[in-house]
């Protein structure tokens, strides 16, 4: 069984921290398909967060097809997360490099680039949340 850690000072919302920790544990083989995730009651009793936060995290994982909730029993692991195929990853990386070059050409320093990237990422995440 895995134990979640919630960092209250992190900019990453608690539900996403749970999602990431489950995926991380799956990639590292700490949990395997067939294993049960801690129940919502166990998690909230352990880390003192709102039950809906855990529910949201588990629903996210369910939507990704990684876990399955069985009514009255619990949430079980179905499969490991799969990353994007390597060619797609390389392609994304190349377009990022192009964007970075244009940002440097425009005179931005690494710090401004970081904040620009972060705010763009946050905005698109919150847009996704709004439509979810």
């Amino acid at each position: 069984m895995i134990v979640f850690r919630i960092d209250g000072r992190s900019a990453i919302p608690p539900y996403l921290q749970i999602v990431q920790q489950v995926k991380h544990a799956l990639r590292l083989g700490m949990i395997e398909p067939g294993d049960q995730l801690p129940t919502i009651k166990q998690v909230v009793a352990d880390v003192a967060i709102n039950p809906n936060t855990v529910l949201k995290a588990y629903r996210d994982l369910e939507r990704d097809g990684l876990v399955e909730g069985r009514a009255g029993v619990g949430t079980f692991v179905l499969k490991r997360p799969d990353g994007p195929p390597p060619p797609l990853l390389a392609q994304l990386r190349r377009s990022l490099d192009r964007w970075l070059r244009s940002a440097f050409d425009a005179g931005l320093d690494p710090e401004s680039i970081e904040s620009l990237f972060e705010s763009g990422l946050r905005d698109s995440l919150s847009e996704e949340e709004d439509t979810a």
Binding site: G8, A11, K41, V47, A48, P51, N52, V54, S119, D123
Partner: protein
């Protein structure tokens, strides 16, 4: 699910000439964990006492779980209340305190209280007055939950607890939400403790509601913007909640209605605490007309050079 946990309409309560709570309108959904936040004297305790029926409104109306508190003894059984000083009989043992709770409450789940206190290794033969603050908090909570309330109101439950006891108390509270679906309203003058456990926020200020809403929605719709001292409107800003001006710069907490793309402005996400502080420091009341402009304000003479 149409019934609201708590609904207040133009609710007011006056003590002598002072309004402790004024023109308070709220709709708190069930199955939520509501944070009731404000400085001391903002009206939190008054609102909770009105909700339990311990106080009667001077004006307006309040309903809990669709009923008027105090009108019918039946509603008392459905609402639990943990008062600020966690009132327990200090000379009673824990076991006696539980028996007392059982005698007073028509619905009483003794095993719930016993299991809970046993799992925390709280000795039943010990006098309540000799327990630690954290243990007393847990006994109060266990008694309130054993009533099996649909709505549990807690007045500053964390104020007297050390950080570890706070965490344990909140964990126990969240467990009961997960297990029994209890609706919770808890007041605090600190918000940092509540960020992880609450999903709805009410800020009271000077006896009025400054803001009321779903926490996720509030966090998504508020930003801290900083930029050159500004006189006009900024696209994307719906309302300026709080602002600080120096002679060159303006920093403001704003409610957004769209993305703020003006490159002259730095836009940062805010956490719950910053939102609360913004509303506590900002303009009076939430009923003031929305002001989308960032007009320059001249600092008062006393602020110059301070």
């Amino acid at each position: 699910m149409n019934t609201l946990a708590l609904e207040a309409t133009s609710l007011g309560r006056r003590y002598g000439k002072t309004w402790a709570l004024q023109d308070c309108s709220l709709s708190l959904p069930t199955a939520r964990v509501v944070a009731l936040v404000g400085p001391n004297g903002a009206g939190k305790t008054t609102l909770l006492h009105l909700a339990t029926g311990l106080l009667q409104p001077t004006s307006g109306s309040i309903h809990v779980l669709g009923e008027r508190p105090g009108a019918d003894p039946e509603i008392l059984g459905r609402v639990g209340f943990v008062a600020q000083e966690m009132p327990l009989y200090r000379s009673f043992t824990v076991a006696e305190m539980l028996r007392f709770g059982g005698e007073l409450n028509p619905t009483w789940d003794r095993s719930l209280a016993v299991d809970r206190l046993e799992s925390l290794s709280i000795p039943f033969s010990q006098k309540v007055g000799t327990l630690s603050g954290g243990q007393r908090g847990q006994v109060s909570l266990a008694i309130a939950l054993a009533k099996r309330p649909e709505l549990l109101l807690l007045d500053e439950p964390l104020a007297s607890l050390d950080p570890l006891a706070r965490r344990d108390f909140l964990a126990a509270l969240m467990e009961s939400v997960a297990e029994h679906g209890v609706s919770i309203v808890l007041s605090s003058h600190l918000v940092s403790d509540l960020e992880r456990v609450c999903d709805h926020l009410v800020v009271l200020r000077n006896g009025r509601v400054a803001v009321d809403g779903d926490i996720g929605g509030l966090v998504r719709s508020h930003r801290l913007v900083s930029g050159p001292r500004h006189t006009g409107a900024l696209a994307g800003v719906g309302e300026v909640i709080d602002r600080t001006d120096t002679d060159r710069q303006t920093v403001a907490l704003v409610r957004t209605v769209g993305p703020i793309l003006d490159p002259a402005w730095t836009v940062r996400e805010v956490d719950l605490e910053e939102i609360v502080l913004g509303y506590l420091g900002g303009r009076e009341g939430s009923n003031a007309p929305a002001d989308p402009t960032l007009r320059a304000v001249r600092p008062a003479p006393s602020e110059v050079g301070s």
